[in-house]
Symmetry: C2
Subunit: 142 residues, 2 copies
């Protein structure tokens, strides 16, 4: 089914979903928060076919969530980094993680409670959530 | 492409994405927060084909996010409501809305800032986000 375009939807939630694209595109964003920057790293970590991953990355770049830049170590590779808009998605990743941790583990959550609490420390009544102190950590570090 | 099942993934974010299913299934959840409970209401509001909407609803029920109950007014209709797990998704909707509002409107956001701030009032340092006071409102009311 062709997806109904919600880019200009009145509802901010619908616009966000449309901009992110396929749900698992958020896992690419998560990968970048985890320090990965190269196509091969994403491919290895997410286990997606090359053409599918390329299409999702292109969409994230076209929507201004990610950008392609020269490699930080001066080599010929290109790297994928988050734009300011993309970095703003940390709050969505936190929310998904918090929901997953509280509802989707039958025998206790293995990870991340400290990271979520660190985020909440930055919340002040009447202010927007601020995630500058937040760092997404892989399960092994949680 | 067949989706890789992430139901048992180590990462809570991946589990959450897998449980929610297709990206726009969250719009069904949003509809319920807005007070809609019937298949016809979802169909009218979301503009989805009957068979597609049925499949997404079935998935949300199978994953424990929604349940089908007798109509609250005693009529023969069935209604779709959120389970406790499903109600927990309000934090994800808030995060998506907040990101959309801050990043996806070129000429100012039309809606919802008050609802997001109401949510933040319930946040206390070191505690989990709590959304009991939060109410999702349509753009027209924002």
């Amino acid at each position: 089914m062709k997806r109904k375009c919600l880019e200009k939807a009145e509802c901010a939630t619908a616009r966000s979903l449309d901009t992110i694209g396929d749900w698992w595109s958020l896992l690419i964003v998560r990968e970048v928060f985890l320090g990965r920057r190269r196509f091969g790293e994403f491919q290895k970590s997410l286990g997606k076919a090359r053409n599918i991953l390329t299409a999702r990355l292109k969409n994230l770049v076209a929507r201004g969530v990610m950008e392609v830049v020269p490699a930080s170590d001066g080599r010929a590779y290109k790297e994928c980094v988050l734009t300011e808009k993309g970095r703003g998605l940390d709050i969505v990743l936190i929310a998904l993680r918090q929901w997953g941790e509280s509802c989707l583990y039958e025998d206790g959550s293995p990870c991340h409670a400290s990271a979520v609490h660190e985020q909440h420390e930055s919340a002040r009544p009447g202010r927007e959530l601020h995630t500058a102190t937040f760092r997404v950590v892989p399960a092994a570090e949680g």
